[in-house]
């Protein structure tokens, strides 16, 4: 429900982005810059380079927005892909940073050096998804998973019916699964 809210105004975000709507880029940045930056930070290990990479990733995405194919994956997955390419380039050192801008949209073999492990990327994707669920769902899941509170405790703490808490946790888990699938290119449509 909340995921849809964000994209509800008339034209979907993806479409507006592909059409070159600057506001859509701002929205894309707001939703996924923390994810991109966090992956980059883990890959390169310092803020300054990670910031440069984040900038490059969004510039690349914007410039090659016409090449994005919604049918073959989500925007988040595409951005994560570009991030990985960019990190690989950074480590390979064979491309000056600005060259990434022009070549990142092309298919190419990834260097393994400096790659952030898939499991860490998955963790970050899920963390990003969790923050995006919207309230009160985000808080409920955080209390359940990080606060290790029982459903009854959460129900009392947030003054919500027990059934509502349970339902949020189930729906939240399903949403997180869907986000992860989108990014990993396994769109089963569920």
């Amino acid at each position: 429900m909340t995921g849809d809210d964000i994209e509800s105004p008339a034209t979907p975000l993806i479409e507006r982005f592909r059409e070159g709507d600057r506001d859509a880029l701002a929205e894309v940045y707001q939703r996924w810059s923390a994810l991109v930056y966090s992956i980059a930070l883990r890959s390169v290990g310092n803020r300054s380079d990670a910031e440069d990479l984040t900038q490059l990733v969004f510039m690349s995405a914007w410039r090659s927005r016409h090449t994005f194919r919604p049918e073959s994956g989500s925007l988040a997955g595409w951005l994560v892909g570009i991030t990985r390419h960019s990190c690989a380039d950074h480590h390979a050192g064979r491309a000056r940073l600005h060259a990434v801008l022009n070549s990142v949209a092309q298919e190419r073999v990834l260097e393994t050096h400096g790659q952030v492990e898939d499991t860490v990327v998955d963790q970050l994707v899920v963390a990003n998804g969790l923050a995006e669920l919207g309230e009160p769902r985000t808080s409920i899941l955080q209390l359940a998973f990080f606060g290790e509170m029982t459903h009854e405790e959460i129900s009392r703490r947030l003054d919500l019916p027990l059934g509502t808490v349970k339902s949020h946790i189930r729906r939240g888990l399903i949403e997180l699964r869907n986000r992860l699938k989108e990014v990993n290119g396994d769109a089963s449509g569920r």
Binding site: T2, D5, I6, G20, R22, D23, L25, A26, E27, Y29, Q30, S33, A34, L35, V36, Y37, S38, L41, R47, A50, E51, T54, Q55, F58, M59, W62, R63, T119, V120, D122, Q123, L124, V126, A127, N128, L130, A131, E132, L133, G134, E135, P136, T138, L141, F145, F146, K166, S167, I169, R170, R171, L173, I174, L176, R177, L180, K181, R190
Partner: protein, 232 residues
């Protein structure tokens, strides 16, 4: 008949379910796979230590906007401007001047508004926008939260863009940094701009509406029409 996602999630979460569902799930390859996937996600989300998502410094977005040639580029519809190199933007001397002179002529009339319903948009902060020369209120700027998203909603009276366009900015209270929020399209007096959630906490509290020329300069023109300060 497969149980719905909700029930499968309940199974993955280890909740007690009725016997029929239980029997079906463990006898059905498809449902078992679904439950397996959901458990994987559960394992990821509860993994220790938890990963922390870090937001990039707001300067990163400034740089992107600067590189894109920002607002003018959309109106002029020229892609060549994309090739410009990013350059850090410096605050104009006039801002520092205004600050020294007792900061922000345009009204410190901001006030915290009680948050409304969580599901709809709730006004988090608001300020009147006033003309710099005559201190006349001619609009408002609201920061509105909708779900996890933050918008700056700007409403103004009719503004004269001259031969240029009208741009909205957020200026940091440190008087050293500013970000372009976006452009008010010609003939528009009201627009919502998505903004990064941490801009306000980082001190970008001064809402500034300026007149900009199509001059290929991404910096603030210095020609401010309206201004207001959001409460910290």
């Amino acid at each position: 008949m497969h149980p719905d996602d909700d029930l499968l999630a309940a199974v993955a979460l280890g909740e007690t379910i009725d016997d029929d569902t239980h029997q079906h799930v463990w006898g059905c390859i498809e449902c078992r796979r679904e439950v397996g996937e959901l458990r994987d996600v559960l394992a990821i989300v509860t993994q220790r230590p938890p990963v922390s998502l870090t937001k990039p410094n707001p300067d990163v977005w400034d740089q992107i906007e600067a590189q894109l040639g920002r607002a003018g580029d959309e109106l002029i519809s020229s892609d060549r401007r994309d090739d410009r190199r990013a350059r850090p933007r410096r605050i104009m001397p006039w801002v520092a001047g205004a600050a020294a002179a007792g900061l922000v002529v345009g009204g410190v009339s901001g006030a915290i508004i009680v948050r409304g319903d969580e599901a709809t948009s709730a006004v988090v902060a608001t300020t009147a926008l006033k003309t710099l020369d005559t201190d006349r209120a001619d609009g408002t700027a609201n920061v509105e939260r909708r779900g996890s998203r933050l918008d700056l909603a700007v409403r103004t009276g009719p503004l004269d863009a001259g031969s240029g366009y009208i741009e909205v900015w957020l200026i940091n209270s440190d008087q050293k940094r500013m970000v372009s929020v976006g452009v008010l399209p010609p003939g528009t007096s009201e627009k919502r701009f998505p903004i990064a959630a941490d801009l306000l906490t980082q001190g970008y509290l001064i809402v500034d509406v300026s007149r900009e020329a199509f001059d290929d300069k991404p910096q603030h023109s210095g020609d401010s029409l309206l201004r207001g300060t959001l409460p910290a």
